[in-house]
């Protein structure tokens, strides 16, 4: 089952006199499986926040349809089942952290002791209990983010949208937020994560989509997207003799990267096996073979550059 289904969504922003048009999303199709952590990536202005806002009916699509938790977006009562942390959110500055959670808890249909208990639990979860009675205007950026996450979870939502949740948070705080996200996943919640910090997304996301200029340019699991299919790293017990290395290098695209470590580019698994057979026939002791992967960041930059080149042609 999918928690989010987006079909052919387009969004065009027009200026007041309709002179200027900006296509924020162009015929976007996307499905997010329920119970997963889904990372949405893209450079600034790619349309990531616009997509979240359309899903939450904060802004409206020009065309196309979107479903959340099997219901059409637009019905505000659907939001009893959704949590959202906006980018650069603002809490009423005259409220303390606890009072701000109470305000949004009440708007989410909670009240009384149940709400008070939930507030304490969430402040504990985001490590903000000691700042419960401090006015929000005195909070740092990181504290605001933590309170924002607590606010997004106040109604125990099935689906949580987080727009740059680790923005302004220190490394320890980021780790804690990652743990919260992974914990939500174990409770079968769906998390839709929008972040510029690709390493963060890589660490927690099950699936990732990349948007560029309103178009979906890649989607898949992190493993699928980061795999370099035909490049392998070999580690040997000893350094390969120069003469043998010279022969293998020309035959199999072998290159030394440090003492006992080499990389090989092969066409397919048959060629990989042939290489292994050759190495073993020469009595070279293989300690480890690893398929090389790029980081999500490397992959992201290469995909965006590729897309830019195509656009320029």
């Amino acid at each position: 089952m999918n928690a989010i289904e987006v079909t052919n969504i387009s969004k065009t922003y027009t200026s007041f006199f309709r002179k200027h048009k900006v296509n924020a999303l162009i015929n976007l199709d996307l499905a997010v499986p329920a119970g997963s952590i889904f990372g949405l990536l893209g450079p600034n202005g790619a349309g990531k926040t616009t997509l979240i806002k359309i899903l939450l009916s904060i802004c409206f699509q020009t065309s196309g349809t979107a479903k959340i938790l099997n219901e059409n977006t637009g019905n505000y009562k659907l939001k009893y089942r959704i949590g959202y942390l906006p980018e650069n959110h603002k809490f009423p500055s005259y409220l303390s952290g606890g009072e701000a959670l109470k305000y949004f808890g009440k708007l989410s249909g909670l009240d009384g002791l149940r709400l008070d208990k939930k507030i304490d639990e969430l402040l504990e979860l985001v490590k903000m209990s000691q700042w419960k009675n401090l006015k929000v205007k005195a909070y740092s950026k990181g504290m605001m983010q933590r309170l924002g996450i607590a606010q997004a979870l106040i109604n125990d939502p099935e689906l949580i949208f987080l727009d740059e949740p680790t923005d302004g948070v220190d490394p320890i705080g980021r780790k804690e937020i990652r743990d919260i996200l992974l914990n939500l996943k174990t409770k079968n919640k769906t998390v839709f994560l929008n972040s510029h910090l690709l390493s963060e997304v890589e660490m927690v996301s099950d699936r990732v989509a990349i948007l560029n200029k309103g178009k979906l340019i890649r989607e898949g699991t992190v493993k699928e997207l980061t795999e370099k299919k035909h490049e392998y790293l070999f580690e040997f017990e000893n350094k390969i003799d120069d003469e043998i290395f010279f022969n293998l290098a020309t035959q199999f695209n072998l290159a030394q990267i440090r003492d006992e470590c080499y990389t090989a580019l092969v066409i397919d698994s048959a060629e990989l096996n042939k290489l292994i057979d050759t190495l073993r026939a020469k009595n070279l002791f293989i300690k480890e073979i690893i398929q090389k992967k790029s980081s999500l960041e490397e992959m992201f930059i290469s995909i965006i550059n590729e897309a830019e080149k195509k656009n320029n042609l």
């Binding site: 939450l56 505000y76 959110h89 005259y94």
Partner: protein, 273 residues
């Protein structure tokens, strides 16, 4: 309904935090102290005897009511100007990026959000005006030893007039996400347009011919809120315990208020944030 009450309640808290209440209360207290000092210094008996040489009780009561209205009429107008100024930013602040995203992510409709904020703003002004008008009423009544129980109804008239002008402020707040255009239009209606159209309409009634001009003036007159009549004749009549008189200004102004709020809601429903 619950959501509307929550938003209204937090609008009151916002007003407290933004010192709207303190600002109003400070002005009111200064005025009330001034009024009490003036009354302690002057001999009200000589004023009343000059207004009512015969000493007739009914005429005396009327004279006291006139003094009450003379004091509170300019005060009511000042109250209204201050009320518009102090409440104009509620909607633009709510519509700021980061605020509105959080609110719209909760299970609350845009209509509830609008009504909650609108009623909250009106309630803030109602409380402030009540404090000032009731304070002035108590001081005057104590001084003259006459309690005109009809007088506090003036609070409702001022609040109603404010609510009409506030709907205009809200409309422009939604359109421009700024408090300034709405305030300017509201002040224009209250200080210039409404009194001017009312005056022109009265002048034209005495003239013969000029039917086209009369129709245009009538059209504008019936469309715009009649704030000058509400704060003038109607306020005065009700304060004196007289019948309201012509209800047309009240009804047509109320219709204007409803239409403006409907338009506000329509715009808010369509708006991208």
């Amino acid at each position: 309904m619950n959501n509307i009450l929550i938003i209204s309640w937090y609008t009151l808290r916002e007003a407290f935090a933004r010192k709207v209440f303190i600002f109003f209360a400070a002005i009111s207290v200064v005025f009330l102290i001034g009024l009490a000092v003036v009354f302690s210094l002057i001999n009200t008996d000589s004023i009343l005897s000059s207004m009512n040489p015969s000493g007739d009780k009914i005429v005396l009561e009327q004279a006291i009511i006139q003094i009450q209205l003379m004091i509170t009429a300019p005060l009511s107008n000042l109250c209204l100007l201050l009320a518009i100024f102090s409440s104009a930013s509620f909607i633009p602040i709510m519509l700021e990026k980061g605020n509105i995203d959080l609110l719209l992510s909760k299970p609350i409709s845009r209509t509830q959000l609008l009504l909650g904020k609108y009623l909250g703003g009106t309630l803030v002004v109602f409380i402030n005006i009540s404090f000032l008008i009731l304070g002035a009423w108590i001081i005057i009544s104590l001084k003259f030893s006459y309690w005109n129980l009809n007088f506090p109804i003036v609070i409702l008239v001022i609040t109603f007039t404010f609510s009409i002008l506030y709907s205009v402020v809200v409309l422009f707040g939604i359109l421009f996400r700024s408090s300034v255009p709405g305030m300017m239009i509201a002040y224009f209606i209250f200080l210039i347009l409404s009194p001017a159209i009312h005056f022109i309409k009265l002048q034209l009634q005495t003239l013969t011919g000029k039917e086209v001009l009369k129709s245009i003036v009538d059209g504008v007159y019936y469309f715009i809120p009649k704030t000058s009549e509400l704060m003038g004749t109607i306020n005065s009549n009700l304060g004196q315990g007289k019948p309201i008189g012509d209800v047309q200004p009240v009804l047509s102004s109320f219709l204007f208020l409803i239409l403006t709020l409907f338009f506000c809601d329509y715009l808010l429903q369509k708006k991208d944030f």
